[in-house]
């Protein structure tokens, strides 16, 4: 709901109250949920709900005025922006975290430490028939290649396919898709020739059982790490994550307070959701954007 009066009075020291309706990317959901949780710990009268309609689906609702904030794992597209414009809903893009996908292999995989994007594409592109490491590179052994990846309806999948195959959603289809990263860990640690991918922090936790590969995006092999994700050198598997609050919604005290809180306590939020934190620079940029917005709104 987007009515003007369903936020509580925000005068003076009074704590904000009322709903904050968030929807959108399932990738970003853990972040906004963690932020909401922390925020509600201090503001028990606010109700933050976080749906997972996907970035596209989220924008659809957002531009129909159904939600206050849209989660997005990519910047808004022009068509989507136009839709919002038609409904005269204006919004602001705020980066809230960095994400890095990590390509993992079995510990016993001694033949490689680094794959080029070209090689990854060879493995993952639609219609790919690569079944053995030898087909990836003749110098590799003839070890059968078992592939594990994100389910085809997840943000991780969209992002990986976009980065590796050049087009969102384009992928070979005969891999083992799963929403459950534990299963990927199990699968990859169980077969010598296995390969999979998932979020960087999840790799950190299971570093003892798996081996992360460096990725060569054209500028040499880069190891996935917080730093390489933040500075974008871990290309092309690092990306920013966003939230899009609508300006109308920001007029509601509870939404405004929430977004402020989101940025203010970003380190905590990112840690809880296990993403790669923002750099100081990125933080400042986001905060500035918010301030500017508030100024525009005449506060």
């Amino acid at each position: 709901g987007g009515g003007q009066d369903d936020g509580g009075a925000a005068q003076g020291e009074q704590k904000p109250s009322g709903p904050v309706v968030i929807d959108g990317s399932s990738t970003v959901e853990p972040l906004s949920a963690a932020a909401g949780e922390l925020f509600m710990g201090e503001n028990p009268d606010v109700q933050v709900t976080v749906g997972t309609s996907g970035t596209g689906g989220g924008f659809k609702k957002f531009c129909a005025g159904e939600t206050d904030i849209s989660n997005a794992s990519r910047p808004i597209k022009d068509e989507e922006g136009k839709l919002c414009g038609d409904k005269s809903i204006s919004y602001t893009e705020l980066q809230v975290a960095n994400d890095a996908l990590t390509v993992v292999v079995n510990k016993e995989n001694t033949w490689t430490d680094c794959l080029t994007v070209e090689q990854l594409k060879k493995i993952w592109e639609p219609g790919s028939t690569v079944k053995s490491w030898k087909e990836v590179d003749p110098s590799y052994p003839d070890e059968p290649l078992n592939l594990y990846g994100a389910g085809a309806d997840s943000g991780t999948f969209d992002y990986f396919t976009q980065a590796v195959n050049g087009k969102e959603g384009e992928s070979r289809t005969d891999y083992n898709p799963t929403e459950d990263d534990n299963i990927t860990v199990q699968g990859v640690s169980g077969a010598k020739g296995a390969l999979g991918y998932f979020g960087f922090s999840y790799f950190e936790e299971n570093a003892s059982r798996l081996k992360a590969l460096k990725v060569d995006g054209g500028a040499g092999c880069v190891e996935p790490s917080v730093e390489t994700a933040q500075d974008g050198t871990y290309a092309p598997l690092a990306r920013p994550l966003f939230i899009y609050p609508s300006n109308t919604a920001l007029a509601k005290p509870q939404v405004e307070a929430f977004v402020e809180f989101y940025l203010e306590h970003n380190d905590e939020v990112v840690e809880a959701a296990r993403f790669v934190p923002l750099t100081e620079e990125q933080k400042t940029k986001a905060k500035d954007a918010l301030t500017e917005l508030k100024a525009k709104a005449g506060k």
């Binding site: 963690a34 909401g36 949780e37 509600m40 709900t49 976080v50 159904e66 534990n182």
Partner: protein
Amino acid sequence: MSTTTRNPAGALRSGRRGSTSSTIFAAVLWACLAIICAFLFFILAVIIQKGLARFDLDLVTRQPSKIHPETAGVASALYGTLWVSGLTALIALPLGIGAAVYLEEYADPRAWWNRLIELNIQNLAAVPTVIYGILTLAFVVRGPLSVGAVVLAGGVALSLLILPVVIITTREALRSVPSEIRSGSLALGATLWQTTWRQTLPAAVPGIATGSILALSRAIGEAAPLILVGATTFITFNPDGIFSRYTTLPVQIYNLVPQDRQEFRDLAYAAILLLIIVLLAMNALAIWLRNRYQRRW
């Protein structure tokens, strides 16, 4: 008939043909039951063993948390389940019992439209639960009603789902009321509704209650249709009305188990244990009702 010489007396002892195969047969049957029971006890044991770790007060008093899964609870899902199943009871029971009374007491079973209704209900009972999710999604969450992913939508989805079950079990309960009671009442000049309301329904109450409880317990354990109507939202407050957003225990379990941290899994199994306890209690109540009150006419 040939005049077989009949050996009198003791010869009754002969025979016992096929008694070995008969024993083996009985043993196989018994083994079937034993396997089924063993499986049941096995899963119950697993759930208890894995669920006990986090089966504490936090489970029901605290809200889900992404930050502190080790002390998180499932309060919003528990209350969501209560809201949704309460609403389901309010919608499905009157409608289901009403429909059953109509079919059993009022309808001419030979009229084509009544036969159609009957056939239709039998078919609905076999419709996959996801289809009810699709239906509710199209008409309630979006479409004409467009109430969004709120308690009301969940209640409607589950009501539609259990409606055929309620109708079928209520009809059975009504059918088990002997017709003498009805004819006795009607022969005294009571109207059909008087007879139904004062004689048939009261006599069928135990059966109806049993069936209703079992139907509701089915609704409580159901996740598939709710996933379609958007109950998967992350929610950390209890619903406070039928237009509140909500989540339920089975949906929460579905979300929790694949999470990456062990604490979430422990919490999930505790939630499973909680759900199973609720459902077993309802089953036990239904069985008790059935054994205690079901009259043998």
